[in-house]
C-alpha cells in the first residue's frame, strides 16, 4: 500500500487501506503506483501553495481549499487511468479541474443548505490579536460604521474599496471588472478619499496610542 499526502490514500488494485475510515482511491498495481502517486502529490502540493498564496489575505478558508484539492486529486487519478496523457491534459487542465471542483463544492453546499459555521482559525492570514470583550465589541461597532460609510459611496467606488479592504489587489479588481489599471487606481483612490471624508464627517477617527 502506498500512502500519499495527508488527506487521501492511494491503494493498489488488490488492497484495502489499513484505516477503513480513511478516504482512498484504488490505483494501478505495481511499481508505477509509487511514481504516479508521488507525481500527483507533487503537483497538488505546488498547486496548493499557489492557490494559498493567491487566497491569502482574501478570506480563503483552508477547509474549502482542502475539500477542492481532494476532488482534484481523484479527478487526476481518473484522468490518468482513463488513458489521458499529460500532453493531452496540459497544465491548464489543473485549473479547469480545480474550478470545476470548486463550483461542484459550492453547489453541493448550497443544495443541502449547509449550516456548518466557519471556524475563524481556518481563515488564512485573518488572525488578530486577542481583544477584551469590551474592545471586541468596540472593534465590531467601528467596522460596522465603516461598512455603513462604504454603503454611501457610488457603486463603482464602493466595489473597488470593498475589494481593497478585503485584501484584493488592483490587478484582481481590473480583471474582474474589466477596468484598465488606471481606471481601477482612480476609482480606488477616489473611493478611499470619499470614505475617509465620510468617516471624518461622521466624527469617526482611528484609535491611536502613544
Amino acid at each position: 500500500m502506498t500512502t500519499t499526502g495527508s488527506h487521501l490514500r492511494l491503494v493498489r488494485g488488490d488492497e484495502l487501506p489499513a484505516d477503513q475510515g480513511q478516504p482512498y482511491v484504488r490505483g494501478m498495481a505495481g511499481a508505477g503506483l509509487d511514481h504516479v502517486s508521488s507525481a500527483i502529490e507533487g503537483v497538488i502540493a505546488r498547486f496548493r501553495t499557489l492557490v494559498r498564496s493567491v487566497g491569502a489575505r482574501r478570506g480563503l478558508v483552508e477547509a474549502d481549499l482542502d475539500e477542492v484539492l481532494q476532488d482534484v486529486r481523484i479527478r487526476l487519478w481518473q484522468a490518468g487511468e482513463g488513458g489521458k496523457t499529460l500532453e493531452e491534459l496540459g497544465s491548464s487542465y489543473l485549473y479547469h479541474v480545480a474550478t470545476s471542483a470548486a463550483l461542484d463544492l459550492l453547489r453541493r453546499r448550497r443544495a443541502r443548505r449547509a449550516a456548518d459555521s466557519e471556524d475563524i482559525d481556518e481563515r488564512t492570514e485573518l488572525k488578530t490579536e486577542k481583544l477584551s470583550p469590551h474592545d471586541a465589541v468596540e472593534a465590531r461597532e467601528l467596522a460596522a460604521q465603516i461598512d455603513a460609510a462604504i454603503d454611501t459611496l457610488s457603486i463603482d467606488r464602493r466595489v473597488a474599496v470593498r475589494f481593497h479592504l478585503a485584501g484584493y489587489d488592483r490587478e484582481d479588481i481590473s480583471r474582474m471588472l474589466g477596468w484598465t489599471e488606471a481606471r481601477t487606481r482612480n476609482l480606488l483612490y477616489r473611493g478611499l478619499d470619499d470614505l475617509r471624508r465620510r468617516l471624518t464627517d461622521m466624527g469617526i477617527s482611528p484609535r491611536r496610542t502613544g
Binding site: 466557519e118 488578530t128 466595489v159 479592504l165 471624518t200 482611528p206
Partner: protein, 216 residues
C-alpha cells in the same frame, strides 16, 4: 497628526467585518454560476458590479468568492504554457515541469502583488507632491490648462493625471518639471480631479492629494 484613517488603520478597523462567519445564503445572493462569471470578468459591467458588490459584503458569498478567485486566478499563467510530456508512465518529469510552471507563476504573481499592493498602501499613507494651481475646486475652461505643484527630493519623474468621475483617465502626462500645460477636452465638462504621482529614485511612488477641477 491627521485625524483621518491611513490605509493600514482603515484595513485594521474594517477587519472585524471580514470575520463574520455565516455560510447561510439569503434570497438576494447570486448563484454560484453568477459569482463565477463575475470572477472571470464575464457579462456586462453593471451585472458584475451588482454581483461583486453583494458578494463582498455578504459573509457567505465572500467566502465563496475567495475560493473561486483563488483556484481560477492562476489559470491564465498556466494556460500560456504547455507541459511537454508524452505518456502517463512519465508523470514524474511531467509533474516536475508542471511544478516549475506553477512555481514560476507563483513567483511572478507574488512579485506583482507585492508591488501593486505596496503602491496603494504607500499612496494612502505617505505625503506626495503638494499641489499649487489650479486651486482645489477651481473652475477652468476647456483647452490648455496650466498645472503647478511643489518639487520633492529624489524624484525622477512626475506624472500629472486628470480623471473623470467614473475613473476614466483624461490626462496622463509624465514630466520632470513641476509645471505642465495639459489639454483639457471640451468633453471633460463637469467635475474632475487632478493629482500628481512622483516616481522616486528608490523605485517607490508617492501621490499627491487629489484636487477637484471643474471644467466649464
Amino acid at each position: 497628526m491627521s485625524s483621518a484613517f491611513d490605509d493600514k488603520e482603515l484595513r485594521a478597523a474594517y477587519e472585524p467585518a471580514l470575520r463574520e462567519s455565516t455560510t447561510t445564503h439569503g434570497p438576494d445572493c447570486p448563484t454560484e454560476s453568477e459569482l463565477f462569471a463575475a470572477v472571470r470578468g464575464e457579462g456586462i459591467e453593471a451585472e458584475r458590479l451588482r454581483v461583486l458588490d453583494h458578494a463582498l459584503k455578504c459573509p457567505a458569498c465572500r467566502r465563496e468568492l475567495a475560493l473561486l478567485h483563488a483556484v481560477s486566478t492562476g489559470e491564465t499563467v498556466a494556460a500560456s504554457r504547455n507541459i511537454r510530456e508524452r505518456s502517463w508512465k512519465n508523470w514524474v518529469p511531467a509533474a516536475l515541469a508542471a511544478s516549475l510552471v506553477l512555481v514560476a507563476g507563483l513567483a511572478g504573481l507574488a512579485r506583482l502583488r507585492v508591488r501593486t499592493s505596496d503602491e496603494v498602501t504607500r499612496a494612502g499613507a505617505a505625503a506626495g507632491p503638494a499641489l499649487v494651481t489650479p486651486a482645489n475646486g477651481a473652475a477652468v475652461r476647456s483647452g490648455l490648462v496650466s498645472f503647478t505643484w511643489r518639487s520633492m527630493p529624489a524624484v525622477i519623474q512626475y506624472t500629472l493625471e486628470v480623471d473623470a468621475a467614473d475613473g476614466t483617465v483624461l490626462v496622463s502626462s509624465p514630466t520632470r518639471d513641476t509645471t505642465l500645460r495639459a489639454p483639457i477636452a471640451a468633453t471633460a465638462v463637469g467635475e474632475n480631479r487632478w493629482l500628481v504621482r512622483a516616481k522616486l529614485q528608490d523605485g517607490s511612488e508617492k501621490r499627491s492629494e487629489a484636487w477637484v477641477l471643474k471644467v466649464r
